[in-house]
Point group: C2
Chain length 802, copies 2
């Protein structure tokens, strides 16, 4: 099972993770840890009991239904992987850092601040450009494809032989998708999917290998163009968030490790704290470009990332968002030969909802909206559950790249076939003049001057289809068309999400929701045709909007940011209240059955994700029970050999080490005096900063913060550093390099209190001390992420080396 | 000086603050503290030096210009008052609390969560109702007034004797304002002004006495109606934020101490942590009702309040905001005989900016907008500087309530006179049909079918004037009218802000800015009439909007939240980028000269306000230098007499006490084992929780968390608790009641690190310990708020008992 999971995990190719030293586990938290805690108290053993019972039940039911499956696989989401490292969002304020900060004048800080703004402006600009590039490429390619297929269909409509058209369509789609799937599956698996779960994890503080590299960006952009052009049921909005994040991580470092270019700028930003801030800005810029929602972008970043509210940072994020929307808007207006016309922000916009007076809603419609929210929640939960099982299936059977490519091609061909069949058998003809500006009206078997309305929804960029569902006048769609479309699209979208292509789920969700929403809008007046109020329900576009929101909310379960994104996309604050109520209902109903789609995929990867608050019933857990112990500590002046041995020990792969001073009487445990990171030790070893050498070579250059920054973020693994036998006997003085003031908590601190400190300050290691400041344990991300509220109360996930 | 400051301070009447025990200082931080620190290092003495130089300079210049002034008065804003207490945003997780939490089931937590939502809904609903009430009352009263005055003027226009009209107008205005000023000055001075600085302070963690009481709300609502009806240059939007906050603080506690009613609900919320969360929601609901900007409201609350991002809280705040806008909107639509027409959210809305196609802007206009932002920043700084000197003057000379009432009446009369003179001498006649729906068109000396355009701006609710400036077609206003109006209004608004009336500064700022913005919009085409592009500048409404944003930004210097508020008020995201750029420019330019208006008033009150980040150049300060020491500690089991004596000591009026256990060998300082608050000790003393009594009366009821909640928030002063001589010899066991896990930092922690911990967790007391966990100092709000970045680098404010 370990192997299988590794194959399809985000961190992807198994050969990679160990060789680069990136996939090394953080703690000596073997599975025994989880069990050893059961002894420490009556109430705690309850956890063990519950999860054990749970395990038994599921295994039993598994054995009944599916013999021969590996048993562990169903518990994939009940595990917490140890292979993910954390990011250091807490500055290591060692002497070098403090010296640098103290040397810096006020002017220096001003310059830093200005360069932060410049970087954010650049991030916004580049993200906007990328969005623009994707949009234009997709439009060109799909335009070409639709033109060819339409011509072909029209050629064969009269004479028969439409099956040739079908084959042409399917082959075209599969070809596009094949390219997209090959680059994702073979070159950069992390670029698959929407990238939102990965960015959520990154901002949460989990190091997902290769998630913000240049190569990922290139594959992502090319992949999303291919998959959208290939007619898959996907959107290009989600990937923009990932793209923005990669741009941010790249620009802010002032160098590209992949291209081996160092521009010697922004060196101050080469640490996790600063980089995270910029990645937040990049993600926001991505949202902003995707939906034309700069405020929504800021709120998305805050919702996912912010632990500590920083006014200047928020303002900078907003700046990046604004620039991004503006850039996209401006270049698209130039491309559309209408420069300066800036009314189309975002890759998708919902069109203006205030032109027609029927856009208002009445008080008595609110219960209807809430009901639609509930439907959205139910359908969303169904979608997520189906996708969950599909993902489990994929993890088990479709983990080889060539199989992944073949599955993607199959989906593309099936999508084309289904579309074709639906167009063929639908006789929903509409007069041509109803809809202006239909790009590819397909006549098929309709009379002259009419077109096939089913074909409209398929022969269109999905963004345009959403707009049509919102804004086309009543009567544009036949109810049956909408019903069949909803069902087909629902299953196609569900099948598509999780393929090894780069693609998002926003647009499909909106489209499904808009379709059934409009269907409800059409059906309602007929239901209540007896009373005279049926007439005001005549605008099904409003119900399409509500349905779209409900479906999207039911699938992704974002809250505040999604409401604001939708408000901004409709450009009308009047819909704020209904949208909020709908999203809330969808979330509440959906959460009752199944988690959000992104959370499911995060859990399936066993990522140690720290939520914003501790589970409510966790007050009876204290740091003593939560922490990992015993802790491996170093002395302030430590023998090199000891350090090398400890770092090389693959079974206890720690990343942070408390530094202690022993008492005069040498009692254990010793007093805490600092904290040092693996990455710092590696730089020290590499530069051979040994006490003996410092004495012998007086002219030796003192190690500076720059040396640490140059090594960031790809610190070499310990195996690549050669330490001779003589050097092993040298001593290393850690005083100058350790963080002398790590945050600590006493052993009696309750879990919510530990959680709050950890999350609010973005910590990686929290030292637990006794009443004499002696180290007794260490709390890391995994120790907190382990506890979650299941259906039977507080549950504890197990740690695994997968 | 101390007396003077006290008289006009927010916490107001001098007789009050000591009697109720609310104004007691927090720490033994006498002014010597500030000086004693100068010895600890070379670099630190720099602070003392710089601020001394500064002081000398100012005194010298003072002596030149104004002899006989009390010298200290100019340093009012260089002091930090000790009279303000802090709020406890960090839960005291003592045994009682933990027991309660552990007893609570998961269902209990769900119920709590649901009641939080209910409370937020109530807050939104009531805030919306209050906004609605204010709006309708103001409309009725001003309508009546304008009708009377207009009739009168028309009666006298032909026959002469307009001076009678003037007197009538002035008397009417003064009468309204007199009522408004009397209730503020005599009954509840804290209700004066907009209340935004007070709410900012409250959310920051400073306890401003009586700021969230029912009486304050009543006076605020009545006061704002009077001052707006009295024709003062004020808005009713700012006070809504304060009103919302009071509603929230009241509703969430489930009782009214003023009315002596306890509904026995929401008892769980009776502590500062929960109350602050609800007050954030209330403030957001206020913003939302005022501007129809629910998202802006959320961001306002976050910008001012949030230290720690809590997803559920933000979502609740958003809910309250939405309900508030919706309620206001709905009831106003009913009042306007158009129920269900929900397109007018907020007390002010800017009207729709997307009807006319000219609402778009071009790339080359952006530099123009930035220039206008700079003008706004300059004018804003001028406004703030003038208001600053005026406030200093008021603090010194106009501190008696009757004088305050007279000043307010004078301003009202002058406002009426100036308006009248301007209408009288203006001959800006406009044909009547240009503007539809003018409520009170005044013909005066214009021809039939025309009206006086100057009168329009004055004879109108200011909100309507702003809308007119934005939307009236080109040619509605004469440039001279706008110029004169700008200047007059600027000085009137400046004079008005800070009067003892309840009123806001948003609308006047918007009006001033809209006037000069529109003026620029009108002038620009004439300047560039040679080229053909002049024609596209024909829409001066766009420039009015930009000008309004620039002026408002230049005065209040809010950033993200203001941008979003303005975007929401215009209902058009297209203007996002220009608005953001304008507000940024206005802030940068303005900050160069003078602080924001609210910050000025906060500083003038010497409030210890903790900003979101430490000053950038403060890395060389450590906890050792910042902390207050020595610290008064208690033993775990302490003699009652010792406790009573310490609490009664008015010179060292501590509020938090570390609890320590002495070593076996009794060495000092002793080891930290907890932290207990003055309020907790007082409840313990009141209930006589003594070890001896517990032994004697076995049946005695155990003290519960409920007893602490019942006493919250008005804990009795120590003087009111009688302790007999026998009881003084009893012992008190603090183990159960102290917080056993207070946050601590080592002495070497740098100031930014201390700051971050303090601010992120909303602490009140941060214990500084040595390497053996022995208490060496205590960091409180004043120790951090003291450091700020002045023009000469890092400066240290002095603490004073004012």
């Amino acid at each position: 099972m370990a192997n299988i999971t590794k194959k399809v995990s985000w961190s992807s190719r198994a050969d990679d993770s160990n060789a680069t030293g990136e996939g090394t586990p953080l703690l000596n938290g073997s599975e025994q840890l989880g069990y050893s805690r059961q002894q420490s108290g009556g109430s705690i053993s309850q956890i063990g009991r519950v999860s054990t019972v749970n395990m038994d039940e599921e295994i039993t039911s598994e054995e009944d239904s599916l013999k021969g499956r590996p048993k562990e696989i169903t518990h994939n989401e009940k595990l917490l992987s140890l292979k993910y490292e954390s990011l250091d969002y807490d500055n290591s304020e060692n002497q070098l850092f403090l010296e640098e900060e103290r040397r810096m004048s006020y002017l220096g800080f001003r310059c830093l601040e200005i360069s932060r703004w410049v970087v954010c402006g650049l991030i916004g600009f580049l993200t906007g450009l990328i969005a623009c590039f994707i949009d234009i490429m997709v439009e060109q390619l799909t335009g070409l494809k639709y033109y060819v297929v339409k011509e072909n269909i029209e050629k064969f409509t009269a004479g028969g032989g439409l099956s040739i058209s079908l084959i042409l369509w399917a082959v075209l789609n599969s070809a596009f998708v094949m390219v997209g799937a090959i680059i994702v599956a073979f070159f950069e698996p992390i670029a698959g999917g929407s990238g939102i779960p990965q960015i959520k994890c990154y901002l949460n503080g989990v190091k997902i290998p290769r998630v913000v590299r240049l190569k990922t960006l290139l594959v992502k952009v090319a992949g999303v163009i291919c998959s959208v052009a290939g007619g898959l049921v996907v959107g290009k909005e989600g990937p923009m968030i990932h793209s923005g994040a990669v741009v941010a991580a790249g620009v802010s470092q002032g160098r590209s490790t992949s291209l081996k270019r160092d521009f010697k700028i922004f060196e101050y930003f080469r640490r996790d704290t600063e980089k995270r801030d910029f990645v937040s800005a990049g993600a926001a810029a991505g949202v902003s470009a995707a939906f034309g929602a700069p405020v929504g972008g800021v709120l998305f970043s805050l919702e996912e990332a912010a632990s500590y509210w920083n006014q200047m940072l928020t303002w900078r994020i907003f700046f990046a968002s604004m620039i991004s929307t503006f850039t996209l808007n401006f270049f698209l207006s130039v491309y559309n030969k209408n420069p300066g016309e800036l009314s189309n922000p975002g890759l998708i916009n919902f069109g203006s909802f205030d032109r027609n007076s029927s856009s208002e809603y009445n008080l008595y419609e609110i219960p209807l909206f809430i009901g639609m929210g509930a439907i959205g929640g139910l359908l969303g939960a169904l979608f997520n559950a189906l996708n969950y099982w599909l993902t489990i299936f994929r993890i088990r059977y479709i983990h080889r790249p060539c199989l992944q490519v073949m599955e993607a091609m199959l989906v593309a061909a099936v999508t084309a076939t289904v579309s074709f069949i639906m167009i063929y058998f639908s006789n929903a003809c509409q007069p041509l003049d109803v809809v202006q500006g239909e790009d590819y009206p397909l006549q098929l078997y309709c009379d002259d001057g009419e077109y096939n309305s089913m074909a409209t929804t398929f022969f269109n960029r999905p963004e345009k289809s959403v707009q049509n569902l919102f804004h086309n006048p009543p009567g544009s769609y036949h109810p049956l068309t909408l019903g069949v479309f909803t069902i087909t699209y629902f299953f196609l979208a569900c099948w598509t999400y999780g393929l090894a292509v780069s693609a998002g789920v926003f647009i499909p969700s909106l489209l499904i929701g808009a379709a059934w929403g409009r269907l409800i809008g059409i059906m309602l007046p007929t239901l209540s045709s007896t009373n005279s109020t049926g007439q005001i329900w005549a605008d099904p576009g409003k119900y399409a909007l509500i349905g779209a929101a409900a479906q999207l909310g039911g699938i992704v379960r974002m809250t505040l940011s999604l409401t604001v994104i939708l408000i901004e996309a409709t450009g009308n604050v009047t819909y704020g209240l209904p949208l909020m109520l709908v999203l809330m209902t969808a979330k509440i109903v959906g959460d009752y059955f199944e988690e959000g789609l992104y959370d499911i995929h995060i859990k399936l990867q066993s990522v140690p994700f720290v939520h914003s608050e501790a589970p409510p019933t966790s007050h009876w857990l204290t740091a003593r029970e939560v922490m990992s112990s015993p802790v491996t500590s170093f002395n302030r002046v430590e023998r090199v050999g000891t350090i090398v041995d400890l770092l090389s020990n693959t079974s206890t792969n720690h990343n942070g080490f408390p530094v202690v001073v022993s008492n005069a009487n040498g009692e254990e445990p010793a007093k805490l005096c600092g904290l040092i990171l693996r990455s710092q030790l590696i730089v020290l070893l590499k530069h051979k900063v040994f006490v003996e050498l410092a004495r012998s070579k007086l002219t030796r250059r003192k190690l500076q913060l720059k040396d640490f920054r140059d090594a960031y973020p790809r610190f070499p693994p310990i195996q690549s550093i050669h330490v001779s036998q003589d050097e092993r006997e040298c001593m290393m003085d850690l005083t100058e390099f350790m963080n002398p003031t790590p945050y600590t908590v006493p052993q009696e601190t309750s879990l919510p209190r530990v959680y709050k400190l950890f999350r609010a300050l973005g910590l990686r290691h929290l030292v637990v001390v006794d009443d004499s400041n002696r180290v007794v344990g260490l709390v890391t991300r995994k120790d907190l992420a382990r506890y979650h509220l299941g259906k039977h109360g507080l549950e504890e996930l197990q740690l695994a080396q997968t």
